[in-house]
Chain length 454, copies 2
């Protein structure tokens, strides 16, 4: 579908036009205007709507043609048939983001509109993101076309993750949750029906994008399997790529068709393609969330040996179970280390893997256990902290951070619980220590760092 | 191991003794005294410690023997060897809760202490909960021996769930989380090393306990497989029983041994036993949490047909995928219903299953979709609510509740997101509508209601 390969102008536009601009606060186009200002877009913003001369004191053009400037990105927030009408006479637009629904996902009438759209833009050489999407959220070039008001969906600070998604709702969910947890992103592209620009074009751009350290994909389908595997294979040599495949089963496959018009194909084919391309596959929204959180802080590791340190037996066992389910190795400590630990830790402690410090634990016991364990050949450590034991204190946060920074191994904190626990989790996160709230999610995060489920 | 079968006095004691009582706030015994007062235990509380004459103005006895009353439950919060010393001369105690660690889980020396403990209590006919446990949290008879201060672990209000667990840390995690979400319980027993009273005795009691509507089990091992299956089989005829088996894999099995001294046995044997007994098996802490949450509100259903209504395509597809993975049926609507829906819903909507109301959704669209869908033969409905779409409002909470109450089908709300979403979730929960924060957890909850994974 792609006309050229360069889509980088979408991520560094000098001029943006909002087509269908409106002074009505609830309108998506109005939300987008506000968002572009809030995020601090530095280029020119042109408003287009024949109904208005001015919107909020800014000049409003009757048509795109009336603007005496080249438009890098025109954002269309109009009913589907109007999008076509507005695009037909256009000569000065490089790329369009069409957030409007009402195309291929809508059956025959919509499919015809989408065919027409495709024909127009191919003829004119305009690149398209969408339709039926949220568009771009970009903390680097400061673009935000996500038309959900900020009181309903918080915005993310800058970070190294970039996310590509067919589903707008996935983007909405993960953006809102990650923002609440203080995680940052570089660029997010929600491309919906993917009439033109899709995952492969974006991957191709992000591969060499310095702002992007990790790429996360939500996939219902890919448009060109061979090209996808080719580009993804090159991409995974440069930075980690994580993917979730949605629409695996019958009902999901069917729903995906009416969602973004995607033909899902057999899940097994996707699994094989991911594997071939070196993509780390995760399961569902939970897997994607865990991956985003852990890769926001840590890079991939070479091996798959996990050390577990806990102050609760049951949570330690659960982490160990899940780690082994996911193909990680929970190997025991050497006899020498066990002896050293037994001499330093209180008698209740169990010096296996997990190292169980029990409810008698002190802050210092965690340090002793970790310093002994991390001298061995572990790749990742999961530290379970239940805050019930009376002798552990807030100082534990700094102590764990110090150990992590000294030994330079990814440390995943697992801390299930309620209000007190969540308050402590904020402290961990302020120090750059990601916290996971279930034994299973901590293990899933470790599996991502080890390159995914085996 | 059981001496008699009646353990009901643990759940309706007239007198409690705290052995090892202390005026020092950090001591477990002091926390327990405070907890018994806070929860409003109505019987007599006796304090025992030869070091003190009075603690906080209350008389303190030198020994249990000095108390001129029969003690229904004596709580021991003392070092393991001292527990044995104190129990030896005792004649007026029916049951003991020994929270102290330092027994079987501690290797040879501890194992000898535990043997001694067992011998003493068998001779005297005293029933034991523990050692190495949190004991009992009971909102019916108002007992709380969980020795974790309330600022670190919130307490639960009264409800119909009863939880039996070998692991104290699982109890801690789930209590704290459920309390934060406003879920209630009847009785929780953390029995740790299970020198005497275990899951089967407790099941036997809870089977006919009117306060208990649902039983949830955390199991590392069972003590007597045949008796367990026998009692559980009778129990599941009267009320739902849910279980999680922990210590499935090598590292977990090994850790369980040093945790509660449990010999786990092969996981496959447990699976078969659960199935035979009609127990609903769930996976890990996440599965257990979902089960507690959904069974706090809804009962089991006969069939396994799920209707999904969503305002986000991607989240709907994910729910459908997970439902089918778990053996639920996501069957389509009848042609008649589809036609009715198409005529009433805006054109963007997809009238499959999921019914996708898209970002153009209004509060009323949810009602239309649900009223049409619920006339068909679905057993459970999952309603995904993403709060991004501008036209849905807080009033949706009441509208959904009204539909649920009218059609009398379990309605599981799935609402992933950040701060706004969590605020709305509180409203749902105040109305008795459980909210799940990932597509996967909503589907897992539905699978529990349908009797577990197929």
């Amino acid at each position: 579908m792609s006309i050229g390969t360069d889509i980088s102008f979408f991520f560094s536009p000098k001029s943006i036009a909002i087509v269908g601009a409106s002074p009505i606060p609830e309108k998506p186009s109005h939300v987008i205007l506000g968002s572009l200002k809030r995020i601090g877009f530095k280029g020119a913003i042109y408003l287009v709507n024949p109904k208005y001369s001015y919107i909020n004191g800014c000049k409003c053009y009757r048509s795109i043609a009336e603007i005496k400037d080249d438009i890098d990105v025109a954002i269309f927030a109009l009913p589907a048939p109007r999008v076509i009408e507005c695009l037909k006479p256009v000569e000065n637009v490089r790329g369009a983001i069409i957030v409007s629904a009402g195309f291929k996902e809508m059956g025959d009438a919509g499919r015809r509109l989408e065919e027409e759209l495709k024909e127009i833009v191919e003829r004119k050489g305009i690149r398209i993101i969408g339709p039926n999407c949220l568009g771009i959220y970009d903390t680097v070039s400061r673009i935000d076309t996500f038309f959900i008001p900020v009181d309903r969906m918080k915005r993310l600070k800058r970070g190294g993750l970039s996310i590509l998604t067919q589903s707008g709702s996935f983007a909405e969910m993960i953006v809102d949750e990650m923002a609440s947890e203080g995680i940052g992103v570089a660029r997010i592209v929600s491309y919906g029906n993917r009439v033109d620009v899709g995952e492969t074009d974006c991957l191709n751009f992000l591969m060499d994008d310095e702002a992007t350290k990790v790429i996360v994909l939500y996939i219902e389908s890919v448009d060109d399997g061979r090209r996808f595997v080719d580009v993804a294979s090159r991409c995974t040599k440069k930075k980690p790529v994580v993917a979730v495949k949605v629409g695996k089963r019958e009902a999901g496959v069917h729903a995906a068709r009416s969602h973004t018009g995607a033909i899902c194909g057999r899940y097994e084919i996707y699994r094989a393609a991911f594997k071939k391309a070196g993509i780390i596959e995760v399961d569902g929204y939970e897997g994607l969330k865990d991956a985003c959180k852990v890769l926001n802080t840590y890079g991939l590791v070479e091996g798959k040996k996990v050390l577990i340190v806990t102050d609760g037996g049951g949570v330690g066992i659960s982490i160990a179970d899940t780690c082994e389910d996911l193909g990680l190795e929970v190997t025991g400590l050497t006899e020498e280390t066990r002896k050293r630990l037994s001499s330093k830790l209180p008698g209740f402690s169990a010096t296996g893997n997990p190292i169980d410090l029990t409810g008698s634990v002190t802050d210092e016991d965690y340090v002793i256990a970790l310093e002994a364990g991390l001298r061995e050949e572990y790749d990742i450590v999961i530290v379970a902290v239940l805050w019930g034991p009376p002798e552990i204190t807030e100082r534990l946060v700094d102590k764990l951070k110090e150990v992590r920074d000294t030994y330079n191994k990814p440390m995943i904190v697992c801390s299930p619980g309620g209000e007190f626990t969540r308050r402590m989790a904020k402290h961990f996160e302020e120090k750059g220590m990601p916290v996971f709230y279930t034994p299973e999610s901590a293990a899933r995060a470790a599996a991502v760092l080890a390159g995914g489920k085996r």
